[in-house]
Amino acid sequence: MLAYVVRRILATIPVMLVVAFVVFSMLMLAPGDPAAVIAGDQATPQDVERIRQALGLDRPFFVQFADFLWRLLHLDLGTSIFTNLPVTHMIAQRIEPTLALMVLTIVLAVSVAVPLGVVAAWKAGSWIDRGVMLFAVFGFSVPVFVVGYLLAYFFALEWELLPVQGYTPLSEGFLPFLENLILPAIALGTVYIALIARITRASMLEVLAQDYIRTAKAKGLGTLPILFLHGLKNAAVPISTVVGIGIALLIGGAVVTESVFAIPGLGRLTVDAILRRDYPVIQGVVLLFSFVYVLINLLIDLLYTLFDPRIRY
């Protein structure tokens, strides 16, 4: 087990190197020049060129990449071209809201979607099953921003129950913290709930048709132990896989959700940086997201062995 964990952790290094190369290459190849954006409307081509030189953007690609990697090894993500602030500082300023939003969304999604999927499988073909699947279709079909605006309209403007935008740090109280995050978490979690509920249902349907479930029923075991102890545990591998894969969905959705609800998180930082071609910030945030994604999938892989001891690598 330990050897497996070490092997998996070591395997993340080449993955991150590839990610770093791809991110760096994509930004270099994409149209848009930060020097031109910085120089502004009244700049001459000479001004733009001077800024490019000052930023080191006129150096060969591999020289810039080597410099980027060297700094990365020292945990130095560089300095924002526009704000002159260290990228690590900007990420540190923004990481709490994004982390809080994602954790709350995952907790909300898993605690809603898994029981929904289990119940839908248990009552397959009934109106409950159809209702859950209808919700799943809705969740997949309606974009995050539409759900966000609808929630903001009803809960914030019409009923005045929750704030429409912003973020309150956890240090300023749990209730205000939750008040600001509940609508974004529901908006972001809708598609995630849909995804997990569908997979849970499909996986549970397969498990509930197994002989040992029939045996458990024959033994006179109650519905809840059958569903959640015997059924869900054996259906957990595909569910946990989807939860892991869904993190990527959440990262993409967080960018939109943070814009709609004006949450000062990494998603908004990414969008702002992309629009301004603030290369160091884009590279830093994408690398961080990639690292988190790789890390979560590593954890999911490790969880497999807990759910099913027969799994060995």
Binding site: G40, P45, D47, Q93, L157, I274
Partner: protein
């Protein structure tokens, strides 16, 4: 008009040149919370032409001169300036009580250094420096002398200009920063000081009232006159989504929001707690720009042919919607209701005939060459203008390639000088704030300084462009 109990702009005068905004009801406002028109990314007012940078700078940095609402220069930090030697020597006396936010007195050296930086960076300033060999020297702590080689009537107007790159005063040590490098201090002398620790890039800007500021006694008028700080603290929350900004205003989370979404104006008007205020009476101006350096619009006859199709109202409708109180057609290069407004030269813009345009295109020698239009889809106003132009071109039958990207890409593309076959472009749109179109000297878009002119307007130099107007 705003209600008497609504918060006034945090500082009168500073906000005169910002665009329209909406104000929500608030009682006993000590902290004024609002949504600025954009994210503040660059704090150095001499390095960025963005409106948000300028608005921010007007809160923090004072100016030697201001412009009143009819755009005449008036003393601001200056007490006055006798003009000697036929206008070649101007000696400014600084008024009493000027202090930086750290409590230190503002000296003539502090005023002179930013002027030198501004002369090197601003188009109008560069012309003054180049053509008139402008020389600025501090005579003593209170007196500053501007010397010109030959008489020139406009240095005060140049120094007091309120559009792109006004001349803001900062300490001598800060203003000594190279023009290619951003300043790293925000020490100013206006009624609000920038609270750096409250600044979170892309999220929030915080300014606190500077109690050491002594306002002028004259009433506020344009960027001139008294600057009265009415809120103890001002927090500007950056909300990129304008619909969310509107919702935040409706729910009372913020007290003002600049440049609300036009689609939302009817909703905001219905809310009795919200008042719509047009702060910028100089209007915003949309511009359709041809690339004069490459085919096909290096041909003046072709440009004129396309002008025959332009119906200003259609463009405005695409940006503002059908709210007639929010737009006006003027057929003038200058902002309407301003002294220099004229319809002269705008005759082709009043024709509005596709048939005549088609005939003119044929006469001009157009034979189906590809036309490339670039636009930014992340700015709704620009996207609206661009789509109307694209529609006109489609109806005229040119082979149009419509390239919609984001503003960052457009900024790079438009600097490209190569022909269409090598990735060049023909047409793009831009929206300017009104003060840039008040008079020729302050209009970068009309400066005909050769290939260095803004966005490829080079050929006019040969025909005596507006740059000559300032000589």
């Amino acid at each position: 008009m705003r209600r008497p109990d609504l918060p006034d702009a945090a500082v009168d005068g500073a906000a005169r040149f910002t665009a329209s905004g909406v104000f929500g009801q608030a009682s006993a406002v000590r902290v004024l919370r609002g949504v600025p028109q954009a994210n503040l990314t660059r704090l150095d007012p001499i390095r960025a032409t963005a409106t948000i940078t300028r608005t921010h700078a007007y809160l923090v940095y004072d100016t030697l001169l201001g412009l009143h609402s009819l755009f005449h220069p008036l003393p601001q930090m200056a007490q006055g300036w006798p003009i000697e030697d036929d206008g070649k020597v101007n000696t400014f006396t600084l008024r009493d009580g000027l202090r930086f936010h750290n409590g230190e007195k503002v000296t003539a050296r502090d005023v002179g250094a930013p002027i030198q930086r501004w002369l090197a960076r601003n188009g109008f300033g560069q012309e003054v420096a180049k053509r008139h060999a402008a020389h600025v020297v501090a005579v003593d702590d209170r007196h500053l002398r501007l010397t010109l080689q030959k008489p020139f009537a406009l240095p005060m107007k140049a120094n007091g200009k309120a559009n792109a790159l006004p001349c803001f005063v900062m300490p001598d040590s800060v203003a000594g920063t190279d023009t290619r490098t951003q300043i790293t201090s925000e020490l100013g002398s206006r009624p609000y000081r920038f609270v750096r620790e409250g600044w979170s890039a892309g999220l929030r800007l915080v300014c606190a009232r500077f109690d050491g500021y002594v306002p002028r006694r004259e009433p506020t008028d344009g960027t001139a006159g008294a600057k009265l700080a009415k809120a103890g603290r001002m927090e500007r929350h950056i909300i990129p989504d304008r619909a969310t900004a509107g919702a935040a205003l409706q729910s009372g989370q913020v007290e003002f929001s600049e440049i609300p979404l036009h689609d939302l104006l009817p909703v905001l008007r219905r809310n009795c707690n919200i008042e719509l205020v047009v702060r910028d009476r100089t209007d915003s101006v949309g511009m359709l720009r041809f690339n004069h350096l490459v085919a096909s619009f290096d041909n003046r006859a072709l440009r004129r042919a396309l002008m025959l199709t332009v119906d200003e109202e259609n463009f405005l409708l695409a940006v503002v919607g059908d709210d007639r109180g929010m737009y006006a057609t003027s057929h003038s290069f200058r902002s309407r209701s301003r002294p220099m407004q004229t319809k002269e030269g705008s005759e082709p813009l009043r024709v509005k005939s596709l048939d005549r345009a088609r005939a003119a295109l044929r006469e001009a020698g157009y034979a189906g060459q590809r036309v490339v239009q670039i636009t930014a889809s992340d700015f709704p106003g620009l996207a609206g203008l661009s789509q109307v132009t694209a529609d006109l071109l489609h109806r005229l039958d040119p082979t149009l390639e419509f390239v919609a990207t984001d503003w960052g890409t457009v900024v790079q593309q438009r600097a490209w000088r190569e022909p269409i076959e090598l990735g060049g472009w023909n047409i793009f749109h831009k929206i300017w704030s009104g003060p840039a179109w008040v008079e020729p000297n302050s209009t970068p878009a009309m400066r005909a300084n050769g290939t260095e002119a803004l966005v490829r307007r080079a050929d006019e130099q040969a025909h005596g462009g507006p740059a000559r107007a300032m000589v």
